[in-house]
Amino acid sequence: MDQTTVKKSRYGMAIDLDRCTGCGACLIACAVENNVSPGQPKVNERNGTTWMRVFEVQDGRPFPDAQTAFIPMMCQQCEVETPCVSVCPQNAVEVDPETGIVGQIPQRCLGCRYCMTACPYHARYYNWWDPKWPDGMEKALNPDVAPRMRGVVEKCNFCHGRLHEARARAAAQGSRQINPSDYIPACVEACPVQAIAFGDLNDESTDVALLARSERAFRFLARLGTETKVYYLSGRDWVRRLADRELARSKKETLHG
């Protein structure tokens, strides 16, 4: 059997911004799954570690007409010219050709943070402190994800530990092909309103592939040309205009003009 017999996947997500309630379950489920340590006493919004961040945005109209949307944002898994990959001096970042997932290996990382400046989505996080858990809590860490150390960068990898688990499960049955229902990232699983769809974009029949082609779908900063694999869905015009600055500006002009 050859490697070529294994189907190449492009894992992606579609997040429905019209459903997201900003509860934060995805953010916590992500931190639990990926052994992200609790914040230090001095932690703040700019130096904490949240592989998945939910931004609260408004349309800018004043009280009482303001509209709010929540934008969960994790690594967008850029497919083409992935900004963080080419900059890493020691190959700690790469796009897995088999899954399309952008991998970050903290043990290879030297902590130069160049990739962080390269990422327009601010999806990369640096360990400013030693990761520490309260007494006894280390026994409750996820065995499938290695904890990181101070001084390295980490980020979302679509819960790769779960892909390992799914592959092992398939292998136990003698198969190289995973069962798609075995591989669902923690944020997707936790979402109380099921706003996130996940799956293989190469497989036309998956929900995520259908949603990615829908009229409501858009991607953030798509004009950078990095072909991200996280799609966002919204029927609200002002939300869709958040995709990039040129679009956001066109709205302002129509308002004022």
């Binding site: 900003g22 379950a25 409750a140 065995p143």
Partner: protein, 731 residues
């Protein structure tokens, strides 16, 4: 040939050594090993290794009763997820629930009994034996019983559990026992209905699937008020699913999550909900948008003429007058009332925000009034009557102490206050509780797994098992259309020094028995009722209770993530009732509630701001939050703690504070520093502040007292704390 030691020779020797070293593995292997050491050094946490198993239980952090599936390593849970097809959560979990298995490792976790000493900003603890504390309680209980000095009060942070029945039972037998709940507890809301009806109407629930329009009076309808499944259904019409869902209209002084997510947000001046309810009733009555025959036959205070009748009361709240009271425009009032009537079935929810304090009895009755006019309560209504979860007979035989809100009992009356904080419940200003105690003579003891919330104000704490260490049952949620029962079985071994609340109370009242026996008795009672269906986690589907062979089988299902759901009953026809309740001077009280404390009318000292506290379900009242909740609070600002005040830009300007700057809030009770966040969506003139303290990610060297905005409340102001005035200065 003697080898003479000269400088030159030494240099040559060193040169030779260096050259030699380069062709040994030493420098290269060292370089490699040092790099590996930086990857695996002892300071880097190691993952557990061991057999992976799956366990099932039920989340007890709130009364939604979500089924949880735990992945465990060495039998210790390391990740939780929801159980697929579970009637409460269908495979999902809320942020608190998903990190529930961390609560056992809370940095302020207690594992042995302590005595507390509150210092300026910190708390010192000293270990004591549980016998000593229990001895003190027993002595005080005896004094209260015999000498009649002060009552024995028990504050139940999670009423409705089986152990709550046990408490009420024991307190009733004690004679001078008082059973207290937070004034925001949903039980008190149904009590308002009881007052209107004159007898106990029985438990009610909300059949959200049947409604097309939901009007919420500041209830967090889309943010934890119902179960995840209910919330998901209410939001289902959004996005791509193409399903139908209810239209939600949120009346709220705050730009709350529900206000953000609702189809329509109606901002309202703080504390004027009663007026708006009367105003809506006015439109319904004036335009005849109700079943006249039915109401006239049932309502006992509904004479279309008489003075001091409901008609008369509501008549005062013309749309214009209501607009003046509430700040809601006349057109919106009229349109909302019409929409409720036209786009039925509709229902009105009056349950306040769990952190923001109760709406107040009169406002609740006003809300029930609209529900009655809309036909939401009655034979075809969406507010349904259901049966109580069957309970062992001994409880009804011995009598139950009545449920009382903390503000309902006289000041300086409590001699011994026991706080069951083993489950986190709705938050409560300590000042409200403190004034009920006999000054300097009372004994306050908490049963709590952590040194957080109200437990920080007590004299002693007896530690209880933490979430998922404890065995407990989950009571029926207010939003549930039928009675439900599930059991949170322990997934973790509890520490040696802990006792569950049943054990502690058993010792105090000298009653034999364990919690497990109590819950098994309850399970038998349910089994014997032969009603309802049981969700089985193992199959992901529900079966008729009668399909189960024995009570033990039911117990096995319930302790493994199962849930019992009662059969729905046909709704009672609308009984006879008084719109304004039966208390003397009902009319005046209702009128006061409507006209009353609208904050805009009071002549203000300059530079006062209206503080609107709020809470998030399962993230308040004791703030037993996973250390990882720093992700939502400190690390992303998605949730805000008591340290952040959100203001309208105009208000910020008025008070001379800037976005990201610091401000100090001052009332007679004290001061609190807050970080200012400016948000154009917030109502001018108010400061929205959450009641939860910041989650603790790491234990400090000393225990710092929680900074809770509720501490600033001056208790004399009102029985509720939904809005209070404070000065705000730039810090």
């Amino acid at each position: 040939m003697p080898l003479t030691l000269t400088r030159r020779n030494v240099l040559k020797f060193v040169g030779g050594s260096i050259a030699g070293m380069m062709v040994t593995p030493l420098p290269w292997k060292l370089l490699d090993d040092v790099a590996i050491w930086t990857q695996n050094g002892p300071w880097i946490p190691k993952v557990p290794r061991g057999p992976i198993t799956t366990a099932f239980s039920t989340c007890a952090l709130c009364s939604a009763g979500c089924g949880i599936q735990a992945r465990c390593v060495n039998t210790i849970p390391y990740a939780l997820s929801g159980i697929r097809n579970h009637p409460a959560n269908n495979g999902t979990l809320c942020p608190s629930g998903v990190a529930g298995h961390h609560l056992a490792y809370h940095p302020l976790r207690l594992k042995s009994p302590v005595q507390l000493f509150r210092r300026e900003e910190t708390i010192e603890v000293q270990p004591v034996s549980s016998e000593e504390i229990l001895g003190k309680i027993s002595a005080a209980v005896a004094i209260s019983r015999n000498a009649g000095e002060g009552t024995l009060a028990l504050l139940d942070q999670r009423p409705g559990r089986s152990v709550s029945l046990f408490y009420r039972n024991q307190l009733a037998m004690h004679g001078r026992g008082v059973y207290l709940v937070s004034p925001t507890d949903p039980i008190l809301i149904t009590q308002c209905l009881d007052e209107m009806v004159g007898t106990s109407f029985g438990p009610v629930g909300y059949n959200l699937e049947r409604v097309r329009t939901v009007l919420s009076f500041s209830a967090p309808v889309l943010d934890g008020w119902g179960t995840p499944v209910q919330t998901s259904k209410m939001l289902a019409h959004r996005g791509s699913s193409g399903q139908k869902g209810a239209r939600v209209i949120q009346i709220d002084s705050r730009y709350s999550r529900s206000a953000q997510l609702a189809d329509q947000w109606i901002p309202i001046k703080p504390n004027t909900e009663a007026a708006l309810a009367f105003g809506l009733a006015h439109v319904l009555l004036r335009e005849g948008l109700y079943d006249k025959a039915l109401i006239q036959s049932r309502a006992l205070d509904f004479q279309t003429k008489g003075k001091h009748s409901y008609f008369d009361l509501v008549g005062r709240f013309t749309p214009d007058h209501t607009a003046e009271c509430t700040g809601v425009s006349r057109d919106v009032i009229v349109a909302t009332a019409r929409a409720l009537a036209a786009q039925g079935p509709s229902l009105v929810i009056g349950d306040g925000d769990s952190g923001g304090g109760p709406l107040g009895r009169e406002a609740e009755m006003a809300v029930w009034g609209i529900n009655i006019l809309l036909g939401a309560l009655g034979s075809n209504g969406a507010i349904v009557h259901h049966r109580a979860v069957p309970a062992p007979k001994e409880f009804s035989a011995n009598g139950l102490s009545p449920v009382q809100g903390v503000s309902d009992i006289p000041d300086h009356s409590i001699g011994v206050l026991l706080i069951d904080a083993s489950e986190q419940g709705d938050p409560l200003p300590w000042s409200l509780l403190e004034r009920k105690l006999i000054p300097d003579q009372s004994l306050v003891v908490a049963f709590s797994p952590t040194l957080t919330g109200l437990a920080q104000h007590t004299h002693y704490i007896i530690p209880t098992p933490a979430h998922l260490e404890a065995l407990t049952d989950v009571p029926t949620m207010l939003s549930s259309a039928t009675g439900t029962f599930s059991v949170s079985s322990p997934l973790l071994r509890r520490p040696e020094g802990t006792m569950d609340a049943r054990e502690i109370m058993g010792k105090i009242f000298e009653v034999e028995g364990t919690l497990e026996e109590l819950l098994k008795q309850r399970t038998s009672a349910i089994f014997e009722s032969r009603r309802g269906r049981v969700f089985k986690a193992s199959t992901g589907s529900s079966v008729q209770l009668t399909e189960l062979g024995s009570s033990d089988e039911l117990w096995a299902e319930l302790t493994a993530g199962g849930m019992w759901m009662d059969d729905p009953v046909r709704s009672k026809p609308l009984p006879e009732f008084h719109f304004m309740g039966r208390s003397p001077a009902a009319y005046e009280r209702m009128l006061d509630a409507g006209e009353g404390i609208s904050s805009s009318n009071e002549p203000d000292a300059p530079r006062k701001i209206t503080v609107l506290p709020y809470g998030r379900r399962a993230e308040v009242g004791g703030a037993q939050l996973s250390p990882l909740m720093t992700k939502l609070y400190q690390e992303s600002g998605l949730h805000r703690s008591s340290k952040v005040a959100v203001l309208n830009p105009a208000t910020a300007k008025e008070f001379n504070v800037a976005n990201g700057g610091r401000g100090t809030l001052v009332t007679e009770r004290g001061t609190q520093e807050v970080t200012i966040r400016v948000d154009g969506a917030v109502m001018p003139g108010v400061a929205e502040i959450a009641v939860s303290p910041e989650p603790v990610g790491q234990a400090g060297t000393e225990i710092v007292q929680e900074q809770d905005i509720l501490e600033l409340i001056v208790p004399d102001q009102a029985p509720t704390w939904r809005a209070f005035r404070a000065t705000l200065q730039k810090a």
